[in-house]
Symmetry: C2
Subunit: 192 residues, 2 copies
DNA sequence: AGCCTATGTCATTCTCCGTTGACTTGGACA
DNA sequence: TGTCCAAGTCAACGGAGAATGACATAGGCT
């Protein structure tokens, strides 16, 4: 809203930079407000550009959203996780402050927004399958791969959402208990 | 959309019944489509009423949403869950089609929609804690109540989101495996 | 029966927002 | 320096959907 991604003095007619600024602003706004709640005029203003340029560069709001979505789904590091310590690592991360890594949460928040909007949800499936579910399936292996992969993804998502919407994180023994139980739950899904 | 909550022949000028029908339709539409994606005309049509009545009875879309939220967040349902069969019941529901039999999960889906919309999210925090998390805590009891309650809510949310994202539900043995594992996971959080 | 008010209907208006197309300007190149 | 195209600006259009208010009517009450 008030924060402007672009410097106060506008770029010097650099189409690529303008396009990138619009895309960055779009990712931010879509992640914060969802497809319907994000307005092209706001995005353009945030990027220090004119709303008409969105049409020129992205072909409309749909195109901008698709571009932002594609850009938000970063290559994953799923295969690099350590299967031994996976549960505890994730659990510890989830027990932390939600605002500690706001930037890293943007892409997820974007996905969550897209997923909860019936009109944009269909756009997700292909990308999510390819970038997340397939690597997860390969990584966990064992029996009931499909079921375990979906369940793992579900738990992961749920923990992230809870992390986003909760106002105060757990402290003390309750936090330890949360980590302990969460770690065990995740780990049980990873081990065959 | 096509399903009409009210009987084919309209009520006989019963304001309370009309109000209730509108509220029921609103809960359904808001849960499915979110605040922005739910249209008053659709809600009114679904309730077998005129859109103008929404204004009369609820003072506008905001008022209707607030009323539907308040009604959705009522704690009555939680205590009614059967602790013995809880895991399997929820798991079976989650394994079904996203648009089938969501009646019991309307309130959860409503919360998810409200939580991901910046304009409606502020309405949630206090109400969710008081009327949602507290009953859950009371219901599950036992040790580590706070941690288990949060974990349970997280898993629930994650399963809901996964339902929204996926385009095709599981079938056959994979479905059975999913239900089995999900039921066990949920049940382990409920039993002390 | 005959009013009278609450209930329901309809057409219209208002507002917001995405989109469009004509217009202006900067700057690269000859 | 002059030309020309891409980059950027501006105002207006159109559709969608919420809100409004005038109008119609059912049905209780006297």
């Amino acid at each position: 809203m008030t924060t402007v991604l672009a410097p106060e003095r506008s770029r010097k007619r650099d189409a690529d930079a303008t396009r990138a600024a619009i895309l960055a602003a779009a990712k931010k706004h879509f992640a914060q407000s969802g497809y319907d709640g994000a307005f092209l005029r706001d995005i353009a203003a945030d990027a220090g550009a004119d709303a008409a340029l969105i049409n020129r560069y992205f072909g409309g709001k749909d195109g901008l959203f698709a571009a932002a979505l594609k850009d938000s789904i970063a290559p994953d590091r799923i295969a690099q996780w350590d299967r031994k310590t996976f549960g505890r690592e994730v659990a510890t991360m989830m027990a932390g402050h939600a605002h500690a890594q706001v930037d890293r949460m943007h892409s997820f928040q974007f996905l969550l927004q897209a997923a909860t909007n019936p009109t944009t949800a269909p756009l997700l499936n292909e990308a999510v399958q390819e970038r997340f579910m397939c690597p997860i399936r390969d990584w966990i292996g064992g029996d009931d791969v499909e079921a375990r992969a979906r369940l793992l993804a579900s738990v992961f998502i749920g923990l992230l959402v809870e992390r986003l919407i909760r106002d105060e994180p757990l402290e003390g023994p309750e936090r330890d208990a949360f980590i302990e139980r969460t770690a065990a739950m995740l780990q049980s899904l990873v081990e065959h």
